[in-house]
Symmetry: C2
Subunit: 132 residues, 2 copies
């Protein structure tokens, strides 16, 4: 029983890490393809601005006022969520814009929900820059 | 229908804000009473350390190596979660320890689940200091 829980935790962590790597790779190389990770029910709160649905979310992401960027990940924390098979992912890191000298610190959380096809989509996404 | 959704969002935001105020007030004035906000199924990841269940979570919180502290909240973002009536809360702010000159920046997320008694408990809690 204990071993089973340990294995589940490892799997949750593995999925969370793979998702984070995939998400920021797409963000940094082909932002428009992030559309594949959101559904109609998905929610994004970006610096306090609330968006819902894959179209509005991707319009926001694609219209961010910078072209090239690079995310550096510092920490990834994962927990199984209350939704069967769901995973909560909490990320901290920094974001380097090509037009800016100093990287910006950020925190972001995702709630991932499994799809019938065996992958995951983002149901909840909250992003904040960390000032100070 | 639109009005209904707007009202729901307002309520989610109201509950999230009230929870945040309550949580950090207890943390700063009577840390041991935070036990009332966690259940046996609750999970806390504190600076990467994973804890589960109200006893282990509260032991961790009560044994933190500082006595008096004060949380200052910068931002609170809320979203309804996929669990019926659940609320995702994302907080950023700073933590002032009495023994430290400089405040520490932090981010924290909570997943709140409604109880049959009409209140909420913390199912997921992830805390990270923001260095850099």
């Amino acid at each position: 029983m204990y071993k089973l829980q340990e294995e589940m935790e490892e799997q949750v962590e593995m999925v969370g890490r793979a998702f984070v790597e995939h998400y920021y790779h797409l963000f940094d190389t082909d932002r428009s393809s992030l559309a594949s990770l959101y559904h109609q029910s998905s929610m994004l709160t970006f610096e306090g601005q609330k968006l819902q649905g894959v179209d509005d979310i991707c319009a926001k992401i694609n219209q961010l006022p910078f072209d090239k960027c690079h995310h550096f990940i510092s920490t990834i924390d994962t927990q199984p969520s209350s939704f069967a098979g769901g995973i909560t992912v909490f990320v901290s890191g920094s974001l380097r814009l090509m037009c800016e000298e100093h990287p910006l610190r950020f925190s972001q959380m995702f709630h991932l929900i499994p799809t019938p096809q065996g992958s995951f989509y983002v149901q909840n996404d909250i992003f904040r820059l960390n000032y100070g």
